[in-house]
């Protein structure tokens, strides 16, 4: 299967799982694979209709679906997080990112779920 076919399949599957879980027509409007100059890589899934409350209540389930999705794309699920629209409870995207050493330091400094007000961490595997 080509990379685009895999992304298409993963997007549809995750969207269906979230809709079934939450009972609302959450939209995953775009799923993008990315590679950054610093060395980070991963996928960003832009969302509409998903809110922080949904995540807090169903975090365990959403985390499992997201882990399955990114694993199916051969992306290590070491860092999974949501981006919030500042000052609101709207989730702009859910993301899987394999961090470079430099960005690991930015995210890894704190211990809480929100190292910045716009980031909500679902999973963060700390390094030795």
């Amino acid at each position: 299967m080509s990379m685009t076919q895999e992304l298409l399949k993963a997007r549809t599957s995750l969207e269906n799982n979230l809709r079934e879980l939450l009972g609302v027509p959450v939209f995953l409007i775009e799923m993008d694979a990315f590679a950054l100059p610093c060395g980070c890589g991963g996928v960003t899934i832009n969302t509409r209709g998903l809110q922080l409350d949904d995540l807090e209540v169903f975090e365990e389930h959403i985390l499992k679906y997201l882990t399955d999705t990114v694993t199916s794309l051969d992306i290590e699920p070491s860092f999974l997080f949501a981006r919030l629209i500042p000052g609101t409870s709207e989730i702009a995207s859910i993301n899987a990112r394999v961090l470079c050493n430099s960005c690991y330091m930015d995210f890894g400094r704190g211990s809480g779920k929100q190292p910045r007000p716009d980031i909500y961490i679902m999973r963060f595997d700390r390094r030795e």
């Binding site: 100059p37 060395g39 500042p86 330091m105 704190g110 190292p115």
Partner: protein, 370 residues
Amino acid sequence: MGFNNYFGPGRTNQNPYLKSPDNKVPMKLYVPHIGHFEGLEELLAGSDNIYAVYMAGSPEYVGTGRTNLSAPKLEEIAQQTEYAHSKGVKMEIVLNSSCMGGQHLTPEGYRAIDWYFDKLNSIGIDSITVADPYLVEMLAKDYDMDVVVSVLSFVDTPQKAEFYEQLGATTIVVDPAVNRHFDKLEAIRDTVSCKLKLLVNEACLYQCPFRYAHFNFFSHANGPGPKPNVLDDYYYYKCLSLRIKDPQQIIKSPWIRPEDLKEYKHITDTFKIGGRTHFVNWILNNVEAYANERYDGNLMDLLDSIKDLKDTFYIPNRELDGAIEQWKKCDKVCHKCGYCKRLAEKVIYTYSGSGEEIRKIPLGSIGDRT
């Protein structure tokens, strides 16, 4: 600087400036805060060199002229202010919208803003930064909080500084556009008796053509609304694009290196670090660099507005030692001088590759791109 310094020492006691019996601590650093309690705890645990923190308030009233990651409610501001004060650190709220579309001059607008100022005053906020002259006068007249004139009031002459002082300003943050115009800085210092603050790492383009339009756009995007549903931030993309095509613009941009703070101490002892949308780790790296007046890494690590280019360009900060001597006497006629262009070719490298396989290529070897 190694990674140990990124983490800095644990905050073990009160602010050293306040502790010092003779107040002979070299500078007061105003440090950006991303806006939530966790962030503040982490920030203050990471350094003893923070004199004050600043963050945006709620966009429902005045808004702010820069991008923002949080919209703390009054109770959150109160909790954070109490915490900052318990650590001997001052709290500043930034409400520096450069355009409110006249809302503040309507009866409803005035009442809402007046109510909000009153609440902030009750909370015990130490200072409020505003850009609109009307709000400067309103704050000075009715409240106990220090009134700080924002960079977005673009105070770049002694005459403008005098106007704002007469309106009631306690402090003026001078427009960084004149950070390398020492004659103007000295004239401003000599003209007013209020305090001056210098923003060290904004790193906007020198004489940026987008400056007013960009801040007005941010003010509407981060203000009470209606919020524009924009396609893209044209000004930001253009700003980055101009620097990629012509990297000397990064050198001309009027940042102040940590090593060069000493050249400004006859102007002020108060310096502001920009960057309230960055990670605490990034902010603390800046705090340590400016507090120590030394940074041995990539200058791009410290610059706020062009952080997205930090993996594009490498500028060994220490290779810029001494450049300030030229800028002190510079008459800013670039086409005749060419100093910054030559310096850019000498010290700027571009990165190629990514991650472990990254390479640095000297800009000079790529040739003249302008």
